[in-house]
Symmetry: C2
Subunit: 153 residues, 2 copies
């Protein structure tokens, strides 16, 4: 078995992406975060709520082995989203080392409905954030706002 | 040291993303792949050329330790991009096991200008594809085309 990356490296990688996502949220004018959209897609504020709803609930499920049903976060203002984002940054750092190493390769059913290994479920949360953040870049450009650099974490 | 995921798992994860990206490329009408854009951003065909320019050159650099300068692929039609995509799918499967396991954690300078560990450089290539593919989803929706499901790989 050849190791691609360690758990510590994944946490650092994820927090880097989360710092970038925070800058993208912050780049939106507060009055457009939950209203601006293209092609009938969700506004970026709704996507940010989805990120909040996935990150700590997924990690807490991996720590405890107990899953609640998936529920969308209620935060409905830019300030509320950013405040929760910063809380989650500390919560994620604190919870991550509590995931038992064997959990990453273990098959499970997240939120009682999403089957996968621990690592694949975590990557889904991160990839989903990257995917929808790319959507946010187009919204910002369409609003005439230069988004933060993708390579800066 | 706690293992997050193995090299085999990363290859399977990446090829899953590449299958999705192929469906997104294929969802564009050929005449709009290299012309349609929003907010002054690059058309999706140019982004697909970038993915081709990063994937195998990065993996080949990790296998050989030799780096050429980064150069954008010349493919300028939907058919040419998809044909190269399929060739690369087989090339990636063949080259991946030739990366020495120690390379993933090793610090290097990709293409003579991008410093990072092997795993972080590979994740950059994958994350860049996910990021710009999210942009492609907005282009498709703006064109009135339903994009493929994000969760299907």
């Amino acid at each position: 078995m050849s190791v691609f990356m360690t758990a510590d490296a994944l946490l650092a990688h994820w927090q880097g992406h989360r710092r970038l996502t925070r800058r993208v949220i912050d780049a939106f004018p507060a009055e457009q975060l939950f209203t601006f959209s293209i092609g009938g897609m969700r506004p970026f504020g709704d996507l940010a709520r989805e990120f909040l709803s996935m990150t700590m609930p997924m990690v807490n499920g991996l720590v405890s082995g107990e899953w609640k049903s998936f529920a969308l976060a209620a935060h409905d203002s830019k300030d509320a989203v950013l405040a929760q984002w910063d809380k989650d940054t500390a919560l994620l750092d604190a919870a991550w080392p509590k995931i038992a190493p064997a959990k990453f390769a273990e098959q499970m059913v997240a939120f009682g409905e999403y089957p996968g290994t621990g690592y694949s479920l975590l990557l889904y949360v991160i990839d989903n954030e990257i995917h929808h953040r790319g959507q946010g870049y187009v919204y910002l450009r369409a609003l005439g706002i230069a988004p933060p650099a993708f390579y800066e974490r």
